[in-house]
């Protein structure tokens, strides 16, 4: 890897991008330093992919600027050699072999033939696909394709790795393997921008998390910093049957309740001192014939933070 610059490697300043009247990204600023894994956490449609496309120079911002290593992404083509992009969907040629795909992508970064051979072998090893190097990609399992898709973003030894929801549709074993790899990338000094709508992934791999909703960065910090914002609050999940919307409204009216969200079969509540609130929450369900089947009181986590900040569950 090339020498790392002092200070943040990636800087985004007041990035804006609209599609028609809808602001997909609305004035987001963030920075990532070498060795840091930054998680951009938000529900589907929050603006994560738009943000990533602007960072990678795939989409021109309406306003603001992106620099990587101090160089502007929108004006300096060579800066793309510093960025490794792993798209959300598998971007590989199904009718080419793993080796041919990697070789083609490596050459796009103007690597010499010797280096290409070396890097292709290295990435195949990393993806645990060395024995399938000469097999066509359309013969691979979903997990193998995912691993190769990530590997393709590493061929040119980027300083900034941008992963757009790399674990969507991946089996638990492959997901575990991918997350381990991402943590390893951070340890080698690579800056990683990682988008996900899986709270547990962000909690597990990211040093710092930015919570994005409706195109805005509504909170940013380490997991501890974000959770500490909640103070002594707890997250209470009430699995219930009946009119959950009415139940949520009744809970929301209770003093001490900060925010309430509903999922398909539960009501999630963020409240100070959850254990003390519990009887009041159960009483709130009685007049409207809501039957609470299970109760789960947990310490605050990033999902609690998201719920507290947006009033909606992360996977809505």
């Amino acid at each position: 890897m090339a020498a790392m610059p002092d200070g943040p490697l990636l800087r985004c300043e007041k990035l804006r991008r609209s599609f028609g009247d809808r602001a997909a990204v609305d004035g987001i600023s963030l920075s990532i330093s070498p060795g840091e894994i930054y998680g951009l956490l938000g529900p589907n449609g929050a603006g994560k992919t738009t943000m990533i496309k602007m960072v990678c120079g795939l989409l021109e911002p309406d306003g603001g600027e992106v620099t990587v290593g101090g160089r502007h992404v929108s004006t300096d083509l060579s800066v793309k050699s510093l960025i490794g992009y792993v798209p959300q969907d598998i971007a590989l040629y199904p009718d080419l072999t793993a080796s041919e795909n990697l070789s083609f992508i490596a050459r796009l970064y103007k690597l010499t033939s010797d280096v290409v051979r070396e890097r292709v072998a290295e990435v195949l090893e990393l993806c645990e696909l060395s024995d399938r190097a000469n097999d066509r990609v359309d013969s691979f399992s979903g997990g193998m394709k995912r691993r190769l898709n990530i590997g393709a973003g590493l061929l040119h030894h980027p300083q900034l790795l941008v992963l757009d929801e790399p674990t969507v549709g991946v089996d638990p074993q492959s997901r575990h393997s991918i997350l381990e790899r991402v943590q390893e990338f951070g340890r080698t000094g690579m800056a990683v921008l990682y988008t996900t709508h899986y709270m547990e992934e962000a909690e597990r791999v990211c040093n710092r998390v930015g919570i994005i909703d409706h195109g805005r960065l509504i909170a940013e910090g380490t997991r501890r910093e974000l959770v500490e914002r909640l103070g002594e609050r707890d997250r209470i999940e009430l699995s219930a049957t009946g009119n959950l919307e009415a139940f949520a409204a009744a809970c929301r009216a209770l003093p001490g309740v900060d925010s309430v969200a509903t999922t398909a079969d539960a009501v999630q509540v963020v409240a100070s001192d959850g254990r003390r609130m519990l009887p009041h929450l159960l009483e709130a369900g009685e007049p409207i014939d809501v039957t609470v089947n299970a109760i789960d009181v947990t310490e605050p986590n990033l999902e609690t933070v998201f719920l507290h900040l947006t009033g909606t569950a992360l996977r809505d």
Binding site: C56, D89, L108
Partner: protein, 388 residues
């Protein structure tokens, strides 16, 4: 340029692995050219069986049958004597003969006595050309008789003694109408069916490159590969250049292979190799520009497939890839000159018949390149957007 070559090489590798590309680029043009050549072979060496019913057996009738069997007529027809008009109708109907000529009894006497008498021609809708040729031969013979008669009448009116009538008639019969049409093609050679349909089919299937090259672009885009290329230090123009280069190489290879095989194996005459290569290359350039135009105009793969199908069949119909354009109505012949393939077909036909070199195809090449410049210019503006 290095990146464009890389993209082109990758595209060609994918295309060569796709059997349909081999079929469309090589097998289909060779097969269809051979089939069409076989189907239209009769039009260049027209020959048919003519049934003749001579119910007269007089001098003039004998002279007519003799004329039909002469060495001049033998190149286009073979006479088969039939017994009766009914037999003639049956044989024409069954296809044993292509047409029949019935000389009625008393025909010679009627002509000598200046009484009107008719020659009957039996024709079939299945071979109208034979019917038309027989009609022309009969008309020509009647015209000759009229000319003989006019000669004799002129001589008698000019004071020739009446007792010389038979001598004058005999003398007039030896004369032939001085004005006769003679076929003089502008070139040294005749355009054979294989020489027309080889380039016609090679170009028709070359046009299909528009369809699958534009589809391949949209497949790349759907698969996220255009985005992956753009995430690398690659300019949109390099991506387009790579795609264009692959079309150029594939098109040139396809056209060249069909050209070599049809000329060596099927005897097609493509004319001067140098001029044919330049003309073919100009045609390939126009296909590259049309492909870029389809990519620029279409928004989705489905649209690209629709636009390219319309373009391929529209151009092939207008440009004379299915039918010999010189046999088309004047409007079609004019429209053909506004299509690159029509110009190319004109050029290849001229090379085959007139011969010559670059001078023969300079105009078609210039028109094709002008067409390419216009479509390519529009395409570049639109296609850049497609990549971006």
């Amino acid at each position: 340029m290095r990146t464009a070559l890389l993209i082109a090489r990758k595209d060609l590798r994918q295309r060569m692995r796709d059997r349909s590309a081999i079929v469309l680029g090589l097998v289909a043009p060779l097969l269809i050219a051979a089939l069409m050549s076989f189907a239209f072979k009769g039009t260049e060496t027209f020959h048919y069986q003519l049934g003749v019913v001579n119910e007269d057996h007089g001098a003039i009738a004998t002279e007519l049958v003799h004329a039909l069997s002469s060495s001049t007529s033998r190149s286009i027809l073979t006479v088969e004597n039939l017994s009766s008009p009914a037999a003639a109708r049956a044989d024409v109907h069954d296809g044993h003969v292509a047409a029949a000529l019935v000389i009625p009894a008393g025909f010679s006497a009627a002509v000598a006595q200046q009484h009107p008498e008719s020659l009957s021609i039996v024709t079939s809708v299945n071979n109208q050309v034979a019917g038309n040729v027989t009609r022309s031969i009969a008309a020509s013979f009647v015209a000759q008789i009229d000319a003989d008669r006019l000669s004799v009448m002129t001589a008698l009116a000019g004071g020739a003694p009446a007792n010389t009538l038979n001598a004058l008639s005999a003398k007039a019969a030896t004369l032939r109408i001085p004005l006769q049409s003679v076929e003089r093609p502008i070139g040294a050679g005749q355009l054979s069916a294989i020489s027309y349909y080889s380039p016609a089919m090679a170009i028709f299937f070359l046009l299909f490159t528009i369809s699958f090259a534009s589809r391949s672009f949209f497949v790349d885009r759907t698969q996220g590969m255009i985005e992956r290329m753009r995430a690398a230090p690659v300019r949109p123009a390099e991506i387009l250049a790579g795609k264009a280069l692959s079309v150029l190489v594939y098109g040139t290879l396809s056209l060249a292979t069909v050209g070599v095989i049809t000329s060596t194996a099927f005897g097609a005459n493509w004319g001067s190799p140098f001029a044919a290569v330049l003309l073919g290359f100009a045609m390939v350039i126009s296909v590259v520009c049309l492909t870029a135009l389809v990519i620029g105009v279409a928004r989705t793969q489905r649209q690209a497939e629709g636009f390219s199908s319309i373009l391929v069949f529209g151009l092939a119909l207008l440009g004379g890839n299915f039918i010999v354009i010189s046999s088309s109505p004047p409007l079609m012949r004019t429209l053909a000159l506004f299509t690159p393939n029509g110009e190319a077909m004109r050029g290849f036909s001229d090379l085959s018949t007139i011969g010559g070199g670059l001078g023969t195809v300079a105009t078609p090449i210039a028109v094709i390149l002008l067409f390419s410049a216009l479509t390519g210019g529009a395409a570049m503006a639109l296609a850049r957007r497609a990549v971006s």
